[in-house]
Symmetry: C2
Subunit: 247 residues, 2 copies
DNA sequence: CGATCGGTTGAAATCCGTCAACGCCCGTGG
DNA sequence: CCACGGGCGTTGACGGATTTCAACCGATCG
């Protein structure tokens, strides 16, 4: 359990190294960050919308959702975060969030004080690395806007599955065509902007095309076909060549 | 015209100062950036999706759209940028864009080489300022996901009008309740993820509530009522207190 | 003057949300 | 051991929201 702090920071470092080169000293600075490990249960709100935060949050295991609330209480998930990702790095420069952060599944989180990250950001390379991560996060958000804004339900869901497949594979959790997605249909519906009822029907339609989501397990029989159906084009994930599917 | 370079850089600087404090030297460094002014006509694609860019783009006047394309050619606008905003700052850390950039109206743009911005980012405060701007951009994207993902068309359009009202007011172009929005209904439809036909009908419904969009002019009779209808809550714009509407 | 673009309107088809009910699984408590 | 209840998934029927297809009009421009 105390080693999970080291493990979490190492995951964070590897994430940064995906997109930015860092010297040995800079890498050690990340490893030396102060951090606190905490387990949260599924359904728990880690950050309440409107709250002022002083720590950023990294996911060691589990699944987190960044969400917005409507007056009637309905939630819209605007981003999902898988293990190895910093779900809150943007809160360092912008600490007063307009959104909330919820544990979709039981999760182990690593909390890092903003002050420590701000301090590290005085180093130019590390600042660039943080900036880069935030830009990549924004790139995914932009894609979500496009995905939710335009497509019919089946490609919308398929697109999310393709994206999460790659991200899960990168996290070392299964493969892009078969991975565990520890969320309910209702939570998934919130993420793609539809009703759980309609999502359920959409899943049945997708099952006919070899894309299934059963017992929290996503299976994509023909990944290439699914990517085509979803018009999935992974550039926006800002990942290095070798982790991407062949064109 | 040569002065527009200075004017554009000054707008950029003021934008950064909204959210970050900078010393006189740092401010001068922004003012001394190399930059190129260019006028583009409405409808012109400044950045083609998938292209590798080596310059960031600031808007001196006009209106820009960041968009994603579908195979069938339809576009989904994922972000709109008004004068005074850097529509491309994230391309410094992430130069291979998955999206395109289009001039919605005739626009005057200021292009700044990535290299120069990267160079400035070696300064910790400036790096934080850039990071902050990118995070704010992401915050708006997140809100767009929530806005588009939610059901009804009228609040969706009203929300966009409220947001653009504040951003236009901040840019010194009209007020939050009356400003020019130089785009066609079809372009607006792309931005909110609906058909131009349905947008047209939605506009008529909104007109009955005092929110009009006629001859590219947005008028909001009762701003507070419109904000309530749209469930507009401006925290996500990451603007200083005094520029926000009273609660 | 014709052509094109942007806006407007109508009618039909489709997608999707709402309401409601039911079954399954699993944990809890009797 | 069984009864109960709640969370979750599933399904049907219905209505409303949105898209699609189509036509028309006014303004602008060559």
């Amino acid at each position: 359990m105390p080693d999970d702090r080291q493990r979490g920071l190492e995951m964070f470092l590897q994430r940064l190294l995906l997109r930015t080169q860092l010297t040995a000293e800079e890498q050690d600075a990340i490893r030396a960050l102060p951090a606190r490990v905490e387990d949260v249960r599924a359904g728990r709100d880690v950050v309440v919308p409107g709250e002022h935060t002083s720590e950023s949050c990294m996911i060691v295991s589990g699944l987190m959702s960044r969400f917005d609330v409507l007056l009637d209480g309905r939630r819209q998930t605007v981003a999902l975060y898988v293990p190895g990702e910093m779900c809150d790095l943007h809160s360092v420069p912008v600490p007063t969030a307009g959104w909330g952060l919820e544990a979709v599944a039981n999760s182990r989180l690593l909390f890092v004080p903003h002050a420590a990250l701000r301090d590290l950001a005085r180093n130019a390379s590390l600042a660039l690395a943080f900036w880069c991560d935030t830009a990549a996060d924004g790139s995914i958000l932009a894609k979500w806007v496009a995905n939710i804004g335009r497509a019919q339900a089946p490609p919308r869901v398929a697109h999310l599955f393709c994206e999460l497949g790659l991200r899960m594979e990168l996290a070392g959790l299964g493969s892009r065509s078969e991975f565990e997605l520890p969320m309910t249909q209702a939570q998934l519906a919130d993420a793609v902007g539809m009703t759980s009822v309609h999502l359920n029907r959409t899943l049945k339609a997708l099952a006919a095309k070899g894309v299934t989501f059963v017992r929290k397990q996503v299976c994509i029989a023909d990944w290439k076909a699914a990517a085509e159906l979803a018009e999935f084009e992974p550039t926006y994930l800002v990942l290095p060549e070798e982790t991407l599917p062949p064109a």
